[in-house]
């Protein structure tokens, strides 16, 4: 600032470019990996055999790999690259510690590697977007703290008194992601790579979607908004349209976002007040989201001629437009009547990919095209190729999203179609799946286009890098801040309290988001009546518990829900005899909950006793034998592997710790009980001409599937309970 310059001389220092470059390379590599895996799973919808007949590459295990790779590896490394570049320049100082930068970079890559190994092996916590097991969760927390420490120390030793708004977004990202990750990851380990969620049923669902929703908010949105506020002015050469608006944007966004999680659970077994809370705050979210979008777009006012020529600006414009679309669609989908149509369908998948491919993807590409030439001290190899990438990518997004919107609507309407006599027109779920297979094929084509564009970019960037020389540092000059600087009384409170005080900013952001979380979650723990207990609901038997672990390991929740909503179309379809929708009290022993969020296959909550054991046996061996045309892959390994006897006592003990009422000392009895139940199932199968060892995993899985949703119908149990 000028007042300083007069009193203190300029200091010369060097920005660290190496860490920035490393993160940029990582985001590119993991972008390709994550998108390729995405393309693979997209192909498996059309060609189930694209799982190569291996358990490690089957949809239920690879889909979490795709989501984790794209969110935490591609976008995560993108965030860090952008933050390390912009933070140094906004603070006019080098990053606080090169060592911390290194630990952060390599630690994060090791976590990604661990995820890439464990997820295909079926080591999963079974909670969507938080699948990684507890040792990796701890590593994430530690590395996140390293990142935070490095960031805060950099901010503290800055040479620019004002914290530019981008930094606020980075701070909010750091504190909120830390809080979400820690709260949601509470689990009780039973050994190195297996744990049970600390929460059960409704509580687990509420915590999980509070996390899941805000992972979108604070991992995919706020850091990228920070990047938007930095890189759009940089790339367009003009300051942000309205700094005023950015201040309101920031506080309103972080305050409102944190409350909106329950909109993922509308019409589910969640107390009504929580659902309404989610709806109201989701609708309110339009205001700050669109405020931010307009702020970004209006920055380019008077510069649209540049947009026509500059590929970087084109990527940015589409990114912000997609952000606007996704943040309009989100609140709309949160209205209960719209949600009734969209939830569990491909509409949601289309929606998140507008955000993922458009907002995160395109902004990352813009950043790469902007930064690589700078870091290598040269020009971009080819503007033409960048434009080609832009158009292929844009077409990719359209080919991806439009068919899925179409598929989502089609399937949802088919689910709800009734005959005049009150029966379902498409009573066989499979009819609603085969109908939309062409849409799935188009979606895979869209993904292929998008990925091809990335390869064009990689070629272009490699050529660019080869043409220049990497500059490990950039020299800069600025005056240090005066130590004894006292703000004038006339300075405004907001500046004195927040804009100059990073630690206070951190604390206040945390308080703001924590209050939302506490009010949303604590009452569920507090008030017993929020989850009415059902006396007939009993803990799983030891064998069923093992079967459930197999269900979780195979990621069945990625295609099947366990949540029948209170609609006539759903109870008619999934429980035609008793017409029972899913009740909150039925899930009290579910650690973790397995409600799912997408129905590629039918809901399974009332699958118990619907079919004979032999049906499940043949169905798991070859789904098309029982459901011709099914796109579910076969699970032959379940017939060769043995269910987990060794860890069964530990599993029972863990469940007891979590409050599941097994009798005292039951862990010693559990294996024998499980073996007896398995022998019974095996004998039953034998009567139907099937020879199968009672130790096979399929037996445990059948036990679990046959138990699902049956407790509520157990009339004898009611008598006992009373």
């Amino acid at each position: 600032m000028s007042e300083n310059n007069q009193k203190v001389g300029l200091e010369t220092f060097h920005y660290d470019n190496t860490t920035v470059r490393n993160f940029l390379i990582a985001t590119t590599i993991f972008g390709i990996v994550g998108m390729s895996v995405g393309l693979l799973v997209a192909c498996q919808f059309v060609w189930p055999e694209a799982n190569f007949g291996l358990q490690y590459t089957t949809f239920g295990r690879v889909r979490p790999l795709h989501t984790n790779a794209v969110i935490f590896a591609f976008v995560g490394n993108g965030i860090f690259a952008g933050v390390y570049y912009s933070l140094q320049r906004l603070c006019k100082t080098r990053m606080y510690s090169d060592l911390l930068s290194k630990i952060h970079f390599w630690g994060w890559q090791l976590i990604i590697l661990a995820a890439a190994i464990t997820l295909p092996l079926g080591m999963t916590s079974g909670k969507e977007y938080a699948e990684l097991e507890w040792p990796i969760d701890i590593a994430i927390a530690l590395i996140w703290v390293v990142f935070g420490l490095n960031m805060f120390m950099t901010i503290i030793k800055r040479r620019e008194r004002h914290l530019y708004v981008a930094i606020w977004f980075y701070i909010a990202t750091f504190v909120t992601v830390a809080m979400l990750h820690i709260v949601n990851s509470f689990a009780l380990p039973i050994d190195f790579m297996k744990s049970y969620s600390w929460y059960a049923g409704v509580q687990d669902a509420l915590v999980q979607w509070w996390y899941g929703h805000n992972a979108v908010a604070f991992f995919l949105t706020t850091p990228y908004l920070g990047l938007m506020y930095y890189f759009i002015p940089k790339a367009s050469g003009r300051p942000i349209y309205s700094y005023r608006l950015s201040i309101i944007h920031f506080w309103a966004l972080i305050f409102i976002y944190i409350w909106a999680g329950p909109h993922h659970l509308l019409y589910n077994s969640l107390p009504d007040w929580a659902q309404s809370l989610g709806v109201v705050f989701s609708v309110m979210l339009i205001a700050p989201s669109w405020g931010g979008m307009l702020n970004g777009l209006l920055t380019l006012r008077g510069a649209w001629d540049k947009v026509r020529e500059d590929a970087i600006l084109k990527f940015m414009v589409v990114a912000i437009t997609c952000y606007g679309m996704a943040t309009f669609e989100g609140p709309m989908l949160s209205l209960k009547n719209v949600n009734a149509i969209g939830h569990f369908t491909d509409w949601i998948v289309g929606h998140v990919h507008i955000g993922g491919l458009g907002w995160n993807g395109f902004l990352t590409f813009a950043m790469l095209y902007y930064l690589i030439p700078k870091l290598y001290g040269t020009k971009l190899h080819s503007q033409k190729l960048a434009n080609v990438h832009f158009w292929i990518g844009t077409m990719g997004i359209l080919f991806y999203a439009i068919p899925l919107y179409w598929a989502g609507f089609t399937q949802s309407l088919m689910w709800k179609q009734f005959n005049p006599d009150g029966t379902l027109v498409y009573s066989n779920f499979l009819e609603t799946v085969t109908q939309i297979l062409p849409m799935y094929a188009l979606r895979a084509f869209g993904g292929l286009l998008y990925l091809s564009g990335v390869f064009v970019m990689v070629y272009n960037l490699i050529k660019t890098a080869r043409a220049g020389t990497f500059q490990p540092t950039t020299e800069a000059q600025a005056a240090p801040l005066m130590k004894d600087y006292k703000p004038e009384k006339s300075e405004h409170w907001h500046r004195r309290i927040f804009e100059w005080k990073p630690m206070r900013m951190l604390v206040w952001s945390l308080i703001l988001v924590a209050i939302g979380g506490v009010i949303e979650i604590v009452p569920t723990f507090l008030i017993q009546s929020n989850v009415p207990t059902i006396s007939t609901v009993k803990p799983y038997t030891a064998l069923e518990l093992n079967g459930r672990d197999i269900y979780v390991r195979e990621g069945c929740y990625t295609c099947h829900s366990q949540m029948i909503r209170p609609f006539r179309s759903e109870v008619m379809r999934y429980d035609p005899v008793d017409l029972e929708y899913s009740k909150a009290g039925e899930f009290v022993y579910d650690h973790p909950f397995q409600w799912g969020s997408k129905r590629t296959g039918p809901d399974l909550h009332r699958i118990g006793k619907k079919y004979p054991d032999s049906w499940h046996f043949y169905h798991m061996l070859d789904p098309t034998s029982m459901s011709p045309g099914s796109i579910m892959p076969p699970y032959p390994w379940l017939f060769e592997q043995e269910w987990d006897k060794a860890r069964t006592p530990a599993k029972i003990r863990a469940m007891q710790t979590l409050g599941v009422p097994y009798p005292e000392g039951y862990d010693a009895q559990a294996v024998v009980d499980a073996e007896n139940q398995a022998a019974l199932i095996s004998k039953g199968l034998e009567l139907e001409g099937i020879k199968m060892s009672s130790d096979a995993e399929i037996i445990a899985l059948i036990a679990y599937l046959q138990r699902l949703g049956t407790d509520i119908k157990n009339v004898e149990g009611v008598a006992e309970g009373n």
Partner: protein, 66 residues
């Protein structure tokens, strides 16, 4: 652990007022914020919003090359 939290929450007298208080805090905060951004010094906001464009390093030489 949850029992622990539950017990403490239950023993707080008049806990029903907490959500009302938090609503008032946030409402006042946002009103004050709005008043602030509209009353604040325009020149200062201009200065701050130009921070990303400050060319205090050698990067801008590359910009000129482009």
């Amino acid at each position: 652990m949850l029992k622990f939290i539950k017990h403490h929450m239950e023993t707080i007298a008049g806990i029903e007022i907490y959500p009302v208080i938090s609503f008032i805090i946030f409402f006042v905060f946002f009103i004050a914020l709005t008043v602030y951004v509209f009353k604040a010094d325009k020149k200062l906001f201009n200065d701050i919003s130009n921070i990303p464009l400050d060319s205090n390093d050698t990067d801008h030489e590359i910009d000129n090359k482009n």
